[in-house]
Protein backbone atom coordinates (compact mmCIF):
# COMPACT_ATOMS: atom_id res chain seq x y z
CA UNK A 1 0.00 0.00 0.00
CA UNK A 2 1.26 3.46 -0.84
CA UNK A 3 2.25 5.82 1.96
CA UNK A 4 0.76 9.25 1.26
CA UNK A 5 2.10 11.09 4.33
CA UNK A 6 5.13 12.34 2.37
CA UNK A 7 3.01 13.39 -0.59
CA UNK A 8 0.76 15.61 1.55
CA UNK A 9 3.78 17.12 3.33
CA UNK A 10 5.38 17.76 -0.08
CA UNK A 11 2.24 19.53 -1.26
CA UNK A 12 2.08 21.60 1.95
CA UNK A 13 5.76 22.51 1.65
CA UNK A 14 5.56 23.45 -2.03
CA UNK A 15 2.38 25.52 -1.66
CA UNK A 16 3.74 27.21 1.47
CA UNK A 17 6.93 28.25 -0.32
CA UNK A 18 4.89 29.36 -3.35
CA UNK A 19 2.58 31.51 -1.24
CA UNK A 20 5.54 32.76 0.76
CA UNK A 21 7.01 34.16 -2.46
CA UNK A 22 4.02 35.14 -4.56
CA UNK A 23 1.35 35.81 -1.93
CA UNK A 24 3.56 37.84 0.40
CA UNK A 25 4.54 40.12 -2.52
CA UNK A 26 0.88 40.74 -3.38
CA UNK A 27 -0.17 41.20 0.23
CA UNK A 28 2.61 43.73 0.86
CA UNK A 29 1.80 45.62 -2.36
CA UNK A 30 -1.89 45.94 -1.48
CA UNK A 31 -1.66 46.71 2.23
CA UNK A 32 -1.61 50.34 3.27
CA UNK A 33 -0.15 49.23 6.58
CA UNK A 34 1.59 45.85 6.81
CA UNK A 35 1.20 45.51 10.57
CA UNK A 36 -2.41 44.15 10.53
CA UNK A 37 -1.68 41.41 7.93
CA UNK A 38 1.56 40.56 9.76
CA UNK A 39 -0.37 40.11 13.01
CA UNK A 40 -2.96 37.97 11.18
CA UNK A 41 -0.18 35.75 9.78
CA UNK A 42 1.37 35.42 13.25
CA UNK A 43 -2.01 34.54 14.75
CA UNK A 44 -2.70 31.99 12.01
CA UNK A 45 0.79 30.51 12.28
CA UNK A 46 0.57 30.10 16.06
CA UNK A 47 -2.96 28.70 15.80
CA UNK A 48 -1.95 26.06 13.26
CA UNK A 49 1.01 25.00 15.40
CA UNK A 50 -1.18 24.69 18.47
CA UNK A 51 -3.66 22.62 16.44
CA UNK A 52 -0.75 20.44 15.21
CA UNK A 53 -0.22 19.43 18.84
CA UNK A 54 -3.69 17.92 19.12
CA UNK A 55 -4.21 16.81 15.51
CA UNK A 56 -5.66 13.30 15.06
CA UNK A 57 -2.79 11.96 12.95
CA UNK A 58 0.78 12.63 11.87
CA UNK A 59 -0.13 13.82 8.37
CA UNK A 60 -2.53 16.50 9.63
CA UNK A 61 -0.12 17.49 12.41
CA UNK A 62 2.78 17.80 9.95
CA UNK A 63 0.83 19.71 7.32
CA UNK A 64 -0.50 22.16 9.95
CA UNK A 65 2.93 22.74 11.43
CA UNK A 66 4.60 23.18 8.01
CA UNK A 67 2.02 25.79 7.01
CA UNK A 68 2.03 27.31 10.52
CA UNK A 69 5.78 27.86 10.72
CA UNK A 70 5.86 29.17 7.15
CA UNK A 71 3.12 31.71 7.99
CA UNK A 72 5.23 32.94 10.93
CA UNK A 73 8.15 33.44 8.53
CA UNK A 74 5.82 35.16 6.02
CA UNK A 75 4.95 37.77 8.67
CA UNK A 76 8.66 38.57 8.89
CA UNK A 77 8.94 38.51 5.07
CA UNK A 78 6.29 41.27 4.82
CA UNK A 79 8.80 43.63 6.44
CA UNK A 80 11.66 42.37 4.27
CA UNK A 81 9.49 42.83 1.18
CA UNK A 82 8.74 46.40 2.27
CA UNK A 83 12.51 47.01 2.34
CA UNK A 84 12.88 45.48 -1.14
CA UNK A 85 10.27 47.90 -2.48
CA UNK A 86 12.10 50.82 -0.87
CA UNK A 87 15.35 49.64 -2.49
CA UNK A 88 13.71 49.16 -5.91
CA UNK A 89 14.29 45.39 -5.80
CA UNK A 90 10.52 44.84 -5.99
CA UNK A 91 8.02 47.01 -7.88
CA UNK A 92 6.15 49.70 -5.98
CA UNK A 93 2.38 49.92 -6.39
CA UNK A 94 1.54 53.59 -7.08
CA UNK A 95 -2.05 53.00 -5.92
CA UNK A 96 -0.84 52.08 -2.45
CA UNK A 97 -0.32 55.32 -0.45
CA UNK A 98 2.63 53.79 1.45
CA UNK A 99 4.35 52.84 -1.82
CA UNK A 100 3.40 56.16 -3.44
CA UNK A 101 5.28 57.87 -0.60
CA UNK A 102 8.39 55.79 -1.36
CA UNK A 103 8.13 56.79 -5.02
CA UNK A 104 7.61 60.47 -4.16
CA UNK A 105 10.61 60.46 -1.82
CA UNK A 106 12.85 60.13 -4.88
CA UNK A 107 14.90 57.23 -3.54
CA UNK A 108 15.45 53.92 -5.30
CA UNK A 109 11.80 52.84 -5.35
CA UNK A 110 10.44 52.14 -8.84
CA UNK A 111 7.30 50.75 -10.42
CA UNK A 112 9.43 48.55 -12.71
CA UNK A 113 9.68 44.85 -11.92
CA UNK A 114 13.38 44.38 -12.59
CA UNK A 115 13.18 40.62 -12.07
CA UNK A 116 10.63 40.23 -14.86
CA UNK A 117 13.11 39.38 -17.60
CA UNK A 118 15.02 36.44 -18.99
CA UNK A 119 18.58 35.79 -17.79
CA UNK A 120 21.22 37.20 -20.14
CA UNK A 121 23.00 33.91 -20.68
CA UNK A 122 23.05 30.69 -18.72
CA UNK A 123 26.65 29.67 -19.10
CA UNK A 124 28.74 32.66 -20.18
CA UNK A 125 30.81 34.59 -17.68
CA UNK A 126 28.15 37.02 -16.54
CA UNK A 127 28.40 40.73 -16.97
CA UNK A 128 27.26 42.48 -13.84
CA UNK A 129 24.94 45.38 -14.46
CA UNK A 130 25.33 47.58 -11.47
CA UNK A 131 22.84 50.30 -10.73
CA UNK A 132 19.32 50.53 -12.06
CA UNK A 133 18.66 49.65 -15.68
CA UNK A 134 16.36 52.16 -17.36
CA UNK A 135 12.68 51.41 -16.99
CA UNK A 136 11.23 49.51 -19.92
CA UNK A 137 14.57 49.02 -21.63
CA UNK A 138 15.73 45.45 -21.83
CA UNK A 139 19.38 44.92 -21.21
CA UNK A 140 21.12 43.80 -24.35
CA UNK A 141 23.86 41.28 -24.67
CA UNK A 142 26.36 43.80 -26.02
CA UNK A 143 26.88 45.02 -22.47
CA UNK A 144 29.42 42.37 -21.69
CA UNK A 145 29.36 38.83 -22.94
Amino acid sequence: MLQFAGFWMALATFLSIWWGHVGVRKLEARSGNILPPALLLIGGGLGLNVYAAVAPNLTIAGVCSIIGITLLWDAFELFRQQKRVQKGHAPANPNNPRHAAYLAAGGHATTADLLDREPLDGQAAQPVLRGRPRVGVHMDHSMGD
Binding site: L2, Q3, F4, A5, G6, F7, W8, M9, A10, L11, A12, T13, F14, S16, I17, W18, H21, V22, N49, A52, A53, V54, A55, N57, L58, T59, I60, A61, G62, C64, S65, I66, G68, I69, T70, W73, H89, L114, L115, R117, E118, P119, L120, G122, Q123, A124, A125, Q126, P127, V128, L129, R130, G131, P133, M139
Partner: protein, 112 residues
Protein backbone atom coordinates in the same frame (compact mmCIF):
# COMPACT_ATOMS: atom_id res chain seq x y z
CA UNK B 1 0.10 12.79 20.96
CA UNK B 2 1.51 14.12 17.71
CA UNK B 3 2.51 17.47 19.12
CA UNK B 4 6.24 16.78 18.97
CA UNK B 5 6.25 15.01 15.59
CA UNK B 6 4.14 17.65 13.85
CA UNK B 7 6.25 20.52 15.16
CA UNK B 8 9.44 18.63 14.27
CA UNK B 9 8.23 18.25 10.68
CA UNK B 10 7.34 21.94 10.55
CA UNK B 11 10.81 22.87 11.80
CA UNK B 12 12.41 20.40 9.39
CA UNK B 13 10.49 22.02 6.53
CA UNK B 14 11.66 25.45 7.70
CA UNK B 15 15.26 24.25 7.79
CA UNK B 16 15.14 22.58 4.39
CA UNK B 17 13.64 25.75 2.83
CA UNK B 18 16.53 27.69 4.35
CA UNK B 19 18.93 25.16 2.84
CA UNK B 20 17.12 25.78 -0.48
CA UNK B 21 18.13 29.46 -0.42
CA UNK B 22 21.72 28.32 0.13
CA UNK B 23 21.99 25.76 -2.66
CA UNK B 24 20.03 27.79 -5.24
CA UNK B 25 22.53 30.66 -4.87
CA UNK B 26 25.52 28.31 -5.02
CA UNK B 27 24.19 26.21 -7.89
CA UNK B 28 23.38 29.28 -9.99
CA UNK B 29 26.83 30.70 -9.29
CA UNK B 30 28.90 27.60 -10.08
CA UNK B 31 26.72 25.73 -12.61
CA UNK B 32 24.17 28.19 -13.97
CA UNK B 33 20.37 28.19 -14.11
CA UNK B 34 20.27 25.91 -17.17
CA UNK B 35 20.91 22.97 -14.84
CA UNK B 36 17.33 23.40 -13.54
CA UNK B 37 15.96 20.03 -14.81
CA UNK B 38 18.32 18.13 -12.49
CA UNK B 39 17.12 19.45 -9.10
CA UNK B 40 13.57 19.24 -10.50
CA UNK B 41 13.99 15.54 -11.37
CA UNK B 42 15.75 14.88 -8.05
CA UNK B 43 12.93 16.51 -6.10
CA UNK B 44 10.22 14.64 -8.02
CA UNK B 45 12.08 11.35 -7.45
CA UNK B 46 12.19 12.02 -3.71
CA UNK B 47 8.45 12.72 -3.63
CA UNK B 48 7.84 9.55 -5.66
CA UNK B 49 10.08 7.55 -3.32
CA UNK B 50 8.12 8.90 -0.31
CA UNK B 51 5.09 6.95 -1.56
CA UNK B 52 6.94 3.65 -1.21
CA UNK B 53 8.43 4.21 2.24
CA UNK B 54 6.27 2.39 4.74
CA UNK B 55 7.06 4.61 7.73
CA UNK B 56 5.00 7.82 7.74
CA UNK B 57 7.81 9.81 9.39
CA UNK B 58 10.46 8.93 6.81
CA UNK B 59 7.94 9.38 4.03
CA UNK B 60 7.24 12.88 5.39
CA UNK B 61 10.94 13.82 5.48
CA UNK B 62 11.40 12.62 1.88
CA UNK B 63 8.30 14.47 0.68
CA UNK B 64 9.29 17.76 2.33
CA UNK B 65 12.85 17.54 0.98
CA UNK B 66 11.59 16.65 -2.51
CA UNK B 67 9.15 19.57 -2.61
CA UNK B 68 11.88 21.97 -1.58
CA UNK B 69 14.11 20.79 -4.45
CA UNK B 70 11.24 21.16 -6.93
CA UNK B 71 10.76 24.74 -5.76
CA UNK B 72 14.49 25.45 -5.92
CA UNK B 73 14.57 24.30 -9.55
CA UNK B 74 11.99 26.96 -10.40
CA UNK B 75 13.94 29.60 -8.47
CA UNK B 76 17.26 29.16 -10.34
CA UNK B 77 16.17 31.32 -13.27
CA UNK B 78 15.18 34.26 -11.05
CA UNK B 79 18.48 33.88 -9.20
CA UNK B 80 20.32 34.19 -12.54
CA UNK B 81 18.47 37.47 -13.17
CA UNK B 82 19.41 38.70 -9.67
CA UNK B 83 23.06 37.97 -10.50
CA UNK B 84 22.68 39.77 -13.88
CA UNK B 85 21.36 42.82 -12.01
CA UNK B 86 24.32 42.79 -9.64
CA UNK B 87 22.18 42.01 -6.58
CA UNK B 88 24.23 38.85 -6.13
CA UNK B 89 27.82 38.07 -7.00
CA UNK B 90 28.05 36.94 -10.63
CA UNK B 91 30.51 34.24 -11.58
CA UNK B 92 33.31 35.78 -13.65
CA UNK B 93 34.11 32.40 -15.21
CA UNK B 94 32.24 30.40 -17.82
CA UNK B 95 29.94 27.81 -16.30
CA UNK B 96 29.87 24.14 -17.34
CA UNK B 97 27.21 23.05 -19.83
CA UNK B 98 24.59 20.76 -18.29
CA UNK B 99 24.15 17.34 -19.92
CA UNK B 100 21.41 17.65 -22.53
CA UNK B 101 21.86 21.41 -22.99
CA UNK B 102 20.36 21.29 -26.50
CA UNK B 103 17.07 19.94 -25.19
CA UNK B 104 17.09 22.06 -22.06
CA UNK B 105 17.37 25.23 -24.14
CA UNK B 106 14.25 24.22 -26.08
CA UNK B 107 12.16 24.28 -22.90
CA UNK B 108 11.42 27.55 -21.13
CA UNK B 109 12.86 27.33 -17.63
CA UNK B 110 9.97 27.07 -15.16
CA UNK B 111 9.37 29.99 -12.88
CA UNK B 112 6.48 30.64 -10.53
Amino acid sequence: MYWWSGLALGLFSFGIIGFGFFWVIRMEYYLGYLWWPYPLAFGLLLVLASLFVGDAGWSALLGITGASFVWGATELKEQAVRADLGWFRANPNRKPDPPGLRWIKKIKAPHL
